[in-house]
Amino acid sequence: MKKFLQIALGIVTSVGGFLEIGSVATAAQAGASFGYKLLWAIFIGTICLIFLVEMSGRFSAVSKHTIVDAMRERFGFPFFSIVLLGMVLVAFMVLVAELGGIGLSLQILTGIGFPWWAIPVSFVVWLLMWKGTFGLIENGVSLLGLVTICFVVAAVKLNPDWHGAARGLLPSLEGDQKAKYGFIAVSILGATISPYLMYFYSSGAIEDEWDVSYIPINRIIAVFGMSFGGVLSMGVLVTSALAIQPNGIDIDKFEQVALLMTTALPRWGFYLFAVSMLVACLGAALEISLAISYFFAQGFGWNWSESLTPSKDARFCFTYTVIILVAAIPLLLHADPIKVTMISMALTAATLPLAIVPFLFLMNDPIYLGEHRNGWISNSVVGIVILISFVLAVISIPLQIIGG
């Protein structure tokens, strides 16, 4: 019974915590500009994520190390510091985008511009980290995140052409606007396959004291939680294709995304959007702050449990305090969160090999995993998707910049 409840909670929090500004902005752009034609990017991104999340949980349950811990040990400090630098820089940009997302949600609700919200929002995120326990963050905010199911409700209400949508699940090379198509595809992959999730899950498995007996639970949670989450992303894309594309709108600004559900859900569509984004971005901001701080703490050998009083893991708490404070600065300077989102999603895809290749080495290491190492399927799926992401990123990003 207890295990059943754990599975249910795991799936529900995975779904509630899936969407954030990256996945919403990229899916909305995809739907508005290309209709159903980019559903495949969400599809393969989600499949890759399922494998990565399952691997993260399995790794920590069996080896009793977090991924970062093992990475330092196995590869040494110099290599570790390169990965640290790459991951932290990109994750930091995503954090800025998420805090901006909370600010923009408050802006469309109150009319007060998002730069004014930068400091209050940072403070609230910090306070939740300071006072909260891992359970509160992992479960509480993610449960609230279930409000994002409204995106799927909106999509269904708009009567999608299911056959057309199914065709979108197969990759197709778009005729004109190839650079933009490739760029959005890359951004979707970067938004879906976020390395910070791996570090977050792995640390969670250690905090929750998982062992080998949790492997089946982990597998179920990964498959169902991430699949349902992927469906939410597809819901955003489909809604955008049906509601926004017919108006000829190309999504550039958050104000345009806010119109997403205004036709499907005339009474509550606008407010549901604002609340959904607020909660989703809040959850992501907390997870990313934790993930970055875990990277430093676990890599350098500091105390790091979220459930300790701050003075017992002082350097860890100091790290997230500084990160959250500094992340507010670009927003105070009026950096557009949507632009930051698109850039950071593309950068995430471009730097995926840096995070995933060492991780794949660890997943095949008998010293850490013994008989629970990766099989050829896990290695292949992840390897192929990362390769696709990287190649697409290297091609599309310069093309998008140099000329359509």
Partner: protein, 124 residues
């Protein structure tokens, strides 16, 4: 024992199972007629940053002179204090006394405890 795989960069735990940091460096004695042996474990500071680049080590040293616990010598623990190896290295010393967690204590006292809700790092 494979030094790089089994010792270097491993986590260190003290007598009371407190985190002490990681094995950031090793001091070895190379004798004329005997096998090289580890004499000390080094933690933090210059040793760690030297593994990246001497320039970074210099910068770190300059910052450490101006700010924080202002420790001038690297933390060195004789190898004889290692009582167990495995997932991490266990030492029979107390973390506080070695200086390995000076930064942790400094940040706890000077920054974290000054913020409401920070608690006290010496409470048990």
């Amino acid at each position: 024992m494979d030094l790089v795989r089994d010792v270097l960069d491993k986590r260190l735990m003290d007598r009371e199972d407190c985190e002490m940091g990681r094995v950031d460096g090793l001091v070895m004695r190379i004798g004329e007629n005997s096998q090289p042996r580890i004499t000390h474990i080094e933690i933090g500071g210059r040793t760690l940053w030297m593994r990246l680049h001497p320039g970074i080590a210099k910068l770190a040293a300059t910052l450490a002179r101006r700010w924080g616990p202002k420790r001038t010598t690297t933390v060195r623990i004789p190898w004889s204090h290692v009582v167990a190896t495995g997932k991490e290295l266990k030492l029979d010393v107390e973390a506080r006394e070695t200086g390995a967690i000076d930064w942790e204590i400094w940040i706890a006292r000077h920054i974290i405890e000054r913020i409401p809700g920070g608690g006290h790092e010496e409470e048990e």
